[in-house]
């Protein structure tokens, strides 16, 4: 494999400088995706700037009652944090639904958001792929796509984003914070990932050379009654074929507030705004949940072999919201 340099950054400004000094350099978090991609030749960096030792490994309350999660917090530490478990239970469930214990000990929050699709064509450098090699084509559209996108895809790419964590963060309105040589910035997670369009190789709105420093979760009392459900083709250690993060606050039989995000259906974690709007202020019953799912999935454009995902997501919305409604009523 290609030889590469390795340097460990000790502070944020140092990390930015190291990256800036070498156009062929990449940040290395836990390495659980990047290193795999280097082995298969999808990524060929000349230098890795290890940011895992940066002082960004804390989970702290924000002044307004939210949480600030450092970029180098490991998935394991995030899932185990008492405030996360109590106030954002779906976040813990999402993290624990992903990968394996060993990988979660390595993987970081920042890296999780920047992981690449697991589309088999993307991962195979002998195949065309518009995301890896712009303009080369997308073989998935006419080929294997039973686990590809039904929402927000384009004729250029139908890959999905594989993150579980990102789905829960999206439901809870998380904001990504980053640092550049020109100063800090932030992006709501719903704006963090770019639309696919005809540029599937451009995945995020992060400025070039930016380093993710953390994720801020706004206060969300509704999140205390939340759930993440992941459906996959084996019981563990597989990416989702459909997942849902949901939070529900029902008062006097009426939906006061609801949060819904879908995973494994789009190039990014999919915030189900249409479903949320359809539900808010209405009854909290299975019929309303199904109608809300239909409202969201009206935009679905399934391919010949992934139409089941429309049914799956509809069923998941009804099942998970029904569970949350029942539990809240007890």
């Amino acid at each position: 494999m290609k030889e590469f340099g390795y340097q460990r950054a000790l502070d944020v400004s140092g990390a930015l400088a190291l990256l800036d000094a070498d156009p062929d350099a990449r940040f290395l978090g836990g390495g659980t995706n990047l290193v795999d991609l280097m082995k298969t030749g999808v990524e060929r960096p000349g230098r890795l700037v290890d940011v895992r030792e940066l002082p960004l490994d804390r989970i702290e309350p924000t002044e307004d009652g939210g949480l600030r999660i450092g970029a180098t917090v490991t998935n394991s530490d995030l899932a185990a944090h008492p405030d996360v478990r109590r106030r954002y239970p779906a976040l813990t469930q999402a993290v624990l639904a992903g990968a394996s214990g060993q990988l979660r000990n390595m993987a970081t929050v920042g890296g999780n958001l920047l992981q690449r699709t697991r589309c088999g064509y993307f991962a195979d450098v002998t195949k065309p792929c518009n995301k890896r090699d712009p303009g080369s084509g997308c073989p998935a559209i006419e080929g294997e796509h039973h686990n590809h996108a039904i929402l927000g895809a384009s004729d250029h790419c139908v890959a999905t984003h594989p993150s579980d964590l990102g789905v829960a963060l999206t439901a809870f309105g998380a904001v990504v914070t980053y640092e550049t040589a020109d100063g800090p910035g932030e992006l709501p997670l719903t704006d963090f990932y770019l639309p696919v369009g005809d540029t599937p190789h451009l995945e995020t709105a992060l400025p070039p050379g930016a380093l993710i420093t953390g994720v801020v979760l706004p206060p969300a009392p509704v999140a205390a009654n939340s759930r993440y459900r992941k459906v996959r083709e084996r019981a563990s250690y597989a990416f989702a074929i459909g997942s849902i993060a949901a939070a529900l606050d029902v008062r006097d039989g009426v939906v006061h507030e609801v949060r819904l995000a879908f995973g494994a259906v789009a190039s990014r974690p999919w915030r189900a705004h249409a479903a949320e709007a359809a539900l808010t202020g209405g009854p909290a019953d299975a019929e309303a949940f199904a109608a809300a799912a239909d409202a969201e999935l009206a935009a679905a454009r399934p391919l010949p072999h992934n139409g089941y995902k429309v049914t799956l997501m509809r069923n998941l919305v009804v099942a998970v919201l029904s569970e949350l409604a029942e539990e809240a009523a007890r």
Binding site: A123, G143, E144, E233, S236, H305, N306, Y308, L312, L316
Partner: protein, 709 residues
């Protein structure tokens, strides 16, 4: 000089649980696998595989690569040593031309080996191999395996003729009050042994030395001798520890490429396959489409049975997955037709994979039996009991033993089958529908000639040498127990050495015949040694060695139907809204001859059953029609059961000592997977009321399967 020391044991070792004799070495890392054994001056070869699916190599741009750091050679069809493929190998088949690497410019499938880059380090070889530019003239390909293909034809398989026919099938079907006519499919499946294929070749004093990971050193040595036109005695292959084989570890491209490079460079060369390369070069199980037609009278007695199986092979090698063979053993009917057909496509060559024929064949046949039981309103076990044949349905030969009813009886008792309500779709626990299913299993058993040597050492210990292969089965340990009993000494006085072609001819680890074949030779040599020691009271410094050869004894075995049998039970939970299927418990009860080491035997059975879970629910290699190559050819894309998918899995056995074997062994290697997928699929029907005839039973298939009960 020492006094003789046999005859001290009263309690036999065979039949008692023993941990693996090399277990401590394996779990502490002391056991070295093929790619870990150091050699001085070792060079590393990296295979380059074709990126096109059919065509011709027009040029290999090796010059830029030869200038890269550490690169020693680039072997390809323009410069590689020539090999001879005009021979019949140990298994009675001509070699798969995939192993004759770099002999011509044709590319018959995606992932065909087109070059080997050799460098000082593995990393340099890989970087150079990935940089090597190969130009192709691409041709249109056909990789589409469908229910019917105009070019399909019949050939005999490893286990019997292509077609067997007796009786008037259509007449018996027409006269049957109850019939089943269904098509079942199984996907392309890969062995995926934990340890990748790895070989190191070197010339040492005019002798070719190969350190390898394989299922039979004599097999690999003989084929390498044929390929390179060498005296068989001048090829020495060793394979001490093997991290799984499952049928894939015979002669493969990596050994041949390593020998070529070692010859060209006059230094040791190691070639290791990557996981992705294994998906193209290590063989695999063909997908199958199978049609089963059954006709029965109102009491469930079969009047008609038809089982046809279509599989695929490459354009360069003929291998057939004989799925229809299982019906020739399991059930009789006045009209009984079986046929195995194959179609040649632009794909890699398939090969033997754990329970070839029986694994996919039993899925179709045992699912069809369950469908028949449903239509008849007869319990599935009772239906099978009513159709127990007295003799081989096709051969008319007697069974050596056939204790299938005993397996069902014991299995039903332990599983709680008697309480089962046969109606589907009735049991719910939360979001899960619960169901149970069963299926029968069988696998051919046999013995092949083998040789062994037993030595009484001057220090009072014993050394047994036999060219066996322990591919994770525990064969080395089993042979230790067998030798100890034959010598009538404690097991710690016996060391068994295996995996060395210099030990002489012996059966490979394959066909569920290894341990039985080797045990026969070990018993003969050790037994004779014990008798000889009884006559002399001293052992000379060089020890006393007795050799055995079972060729005559094995050849004298009477013709019989010889099989292991089993009854598989599964309980599943299905969420029809998400399509998730989870196995909750499994039980397999087997009649598989005398069990040598219950500890490793149980692992062998449950390992097969767990593979059956994978076969039922997970495993599937997806071939992309447009590119002709596999999609997601790695262990992230190709799912096998994870620990979380494997619940309570129990295996046990009934007494079934083989009267024709000196140790009573039949063979347990492969039967564990047979019938397991059918039992799970039948349980999914019982849970949901929907038949799943296509494996694996993926969530999308459950979701789109239509109305559930």
């Amino acid at each position: 000089m020492t006094t003789t020391t046999t005859g001290l044991r009263a309690v036999p070792a065979v039949g008692t649980a023993h941990t693996r004799v090399e277990g401590r070495d394996k779990v502490t890392g002391a056991a070295r696998y093929a790619a870990e054994i150091p050699f001085t001056e070792l060079a590393h070869g990296w295979l380059v595989l074709s990126t096109v699916t059919r065509g011709r190599i027009s040029s290999v741009e090796d010059a830029p690569v030869l200038a890269m750091p550490g690169v020693l050679a680039v072997l390809h069809h323009g410069n590689a040593p020539r090999v001879d493929t005009d021979y019949v190998g140990m298994l009675g088949m001509p070699p798969d031309p995939t192993i004759a690497v770099f002999q011509h410019d044709r590319v018959p499938h995606a992932g065909w080996p087109v070059a080997l880059v050799v460098a000082e380090t593995s990393e340099q070889a890989r970087e150079a191999a990935e940089a090597l530019v190969v130009h192709y003239e691409e041709e249109a390909h056909d990789v589409t395996f469908a229910k019917e293909h105009p070019d399909a034809y019949s050939i005999p398989g490893p286990g019997g003729p292509a077609v067997t026919e007796k009786g008037d099938l259509e007449a018996e079907l027409a006269a049957s009050p109850v019939t089943v006519d269904a098509v079942y499919t199984t996907p392309e499946e890969h062995h995926n042994s934990m340890e990748p294929h790895a070989a190191t070749a070197l010339w040492d004093g005019g002798r070719l030395e190969v350190v390898d990971s394989n299922q039979g050193t004599i097999w690999v040595a003989a084929e390498l001798a044929s390929l390179f036109s060498l005296d068989p005695a001048s090829v020495h292959v060793r394979s001490e520890h093997v991290g799984g084989g499952f049928g894939s570890k015979g002669v493969r491209a990596h050994q041949v490429a390593a020998v070529m490079a070692a010859t060209v460079l006059s230094r040791p060369v190691r070639v290791v396959m990557t996981r992705r390369q294994m998906f193209s070069l290590a063989g695999y199980r063909s997908p199958t489409t199978q049609r089963v037609r059954l006709g029965a009278d109102a009491e469930g007695r079969l009047r008609a049975l038809e089982h046809s199986c279509l599989s695929l092979t490459s354009t360069v090698h003929e291998f057939i997955e004989s799925g229809a063979g299982v019906a020739r053993v399991m059930y009789d009917a006045p009209a009984h037709h079986t046929a195995n057909r194959v179609v040649r496509l632009d794909v890699p060559s398939p090969t033997f994979m754990r329970a070839p024929g029986e694994a996919p064949g039993s899925f179709a046949l045992e699912s069809a039996l369950d469908e028949l039981a449903e239509k008849l309103g007869i319990d599935p076990i009772e239906l099978r009991t009513r159709n127990e044949p007295a003799v081989g349905p096709v051969s008319g030969l007697p069974f050596s033993t056939r204790n299938l009813p005993a397996c069902f009886e014991e299995g039903a008792r332990r599983f709680g089958w008697a309480d089962r309500d046969p109606r589907p779709g009735l049991r719910r626990e939360g979001r899960w529908l619960i169901g149970t299913g069963t299926a029968a299993a069988s696998f051919f058993v046999g013995a092949m000639p083998s040789t062994a040597a037993a030595t009484a050492e001057a220090d009072g210990t014993f050394t047994v040498r036999i060219n066996a292969a322990d591919i994770g089965t525990g064969a080395r340990t089993a042979l230790t127990l067998i030798a100890a009993d034959a010598l009538e000494v404690p097991t710690d006085r016996v060391r068994v050495r295996i995996g060395d072609s210099d030990f002489g001819p012996a059966m490979i680890a394959g066909g569920s015949m290894g341990t039985r074949s080797w045990a026969w030779a070990v018993t003969a040599a050790a037994g004779e040694l014990r008798e000889r020691l009884a006559l002399s009271d001293t052992i000379p410094p060089e020890g006393i060695t007795v050799r055995s050869d079972t060729t005559a004894a094995v050849g004298a075995l009477a013709q019989k139907e010889r099989h292991s049998f089993g009854a598989q039970f599964a309980e599943v939970a299905v969420d029809v809204s998400t399509g998730e299927v989870r196995v909750r418990r499994m039980l397999g009860v087997f009649a598989a001859g005398r069990i040598i080491n219950p500890l490793t035997a149980r692992g062998q059975f449950t390992g097969g059953m767990i593979w059956g879970i994978s076969m039922a629910l997970h495993e599937e290699a997806v071939r992309d029609r447009n590119t002709g190559a596999l999609y997601g050819a790695d262990l992230a894309g190709y799912h096998v059961a994870s620990n979380a998918d494997v619940p309570l899995v129990e295996a046990d056995w009934v007494d079934d000592t083989d009267p024709d074997d000196p140790v009573g062994i039949k063979g347990i290697g492969e039967i564990g997977i047979v019938g397991a997928a059918a039992a799970i699929a039948n349980a999914v029907w019982h849970a949901t009321g929907v038949r799943h005839r296509d494996l694996p039973i993926r969530p999308d298939r459950v979701i789109t399967a239509g109305p559930h009960v």
